[in-house]
């Protein structure tokens, strides 16, 4: 008896916690973070968050945007896992040689489900939602 009650309470508590976490989505994303979600949601995996700040500490823009052919447009590149394991796009580095390899799914696929493809904290975003206002 006590156990079923306890289970119910646990389920209730977990539901509340999940709801709180889901509804509390004030975005303070780092400037230049790109969420990539052309295929992820549809494939049942978390969207990808690409941090510009982290990569530009290590690489010039030219490496990705000229040598590797990433276009200057969030969602403007047709990236999927097959291309990545064949060494294109992220896979040119995330190959266990220059950077950790693709088996670390969760490090790339770390976005909140249903977050649309976009570059965060951009001037354009702020014209709609002024000066970094909490959403």
């Amino acid at each position: 008896m006590a156990l079923t009650l306890c289970k119910r309470i646990t389920v209730l508590v977990l539901t509340i916690v999940c709801l709180v976490l889901l509804t509390h989505n004030a975005s303070h994303a780092e400037y230049g973070d790109v969420v990539m979600n052309k295929y992820s949601d549809d494939s049942g995996i978390r969207p990808v968050v690409f941090p510009h700040w982290f990569h530009r500490v290590r690489f010039r823009c030219k490496v990705c945007h000229a040598d590797l052919g990433f276009k200057f447009k969030a969602g403007g590149n047709d990236i999927n896992m097959l291309k990545i394991i064949d060494g294109e796009y992220c896979g040119a580095c995330h190959n266990g040689d220059i950077a950790w390899s693709v088996e670390n799914c969760d490090l790339c696929h770390s976005g909140k489900p249903k977050t649309p493809t976009q570059v965060h904290e951009s001037t354009l975003q702020k014209l709609i939602r002024p000066a970094g206002a909490p959403k």
Partner: protein
Amino acid sequence: MVRSKFFVSLISSLGIIALSVAWMPVPDAAAADPNTFNRLMKPPSKRNPPPTQDGIHDPGSIGTQGLQTPREAFKPLPPAQSGNYVDWVKAFDAKKIQPRFDSKDPKAKPVIMDLTIVRQVKGSMPDVIFPHKQHTEWLDCSNCHPVPFVPQKGANQMSMASIMLGESCGVCHGKVAFPVADCRRCHTETKGKATKTSAKAAAKPAKSKKK
């Protein structure tokens, strides 16, 4: 028996609550008090937050917890007023960061082009100086020529409105490179000085803009 199971689940649910409290962003005071000091601006305490609190990473993912916090990475770097709150040009010049020019070869060096272009600005704002030097440190000619800029002084229409909409300089500034808020980093040449030192350079753009 039943009791110990009860305690196990009680403790685990308490643990989950504690964890989710730790993951949650600092409670938004704005939600409770309508008269908080900053209503629209993001206060300094909310800048460069850890991925678990930034609103776009899933705090429930193990991967998220493995990611670096921008605030910590930026500690040794010179600050700026907006964007990442890091002056990437100064950080680069002072060799605080040494971004590779080639994905594999850490020693590869770019060919730097030191050509500045003066763009005369309507009204009171200082003229804009576009330095090829800082740009060719990071970028390839093909990132800008022929799109978004024809490589000819004065051949391109530019305006503040289009920049804010993400065109022209706004392809990068306002998205990854320092944002539009840092007016004086682009509007550097005071008007009087421009007419004295670079009258020729400035006259050309004005002329070719008309056609």
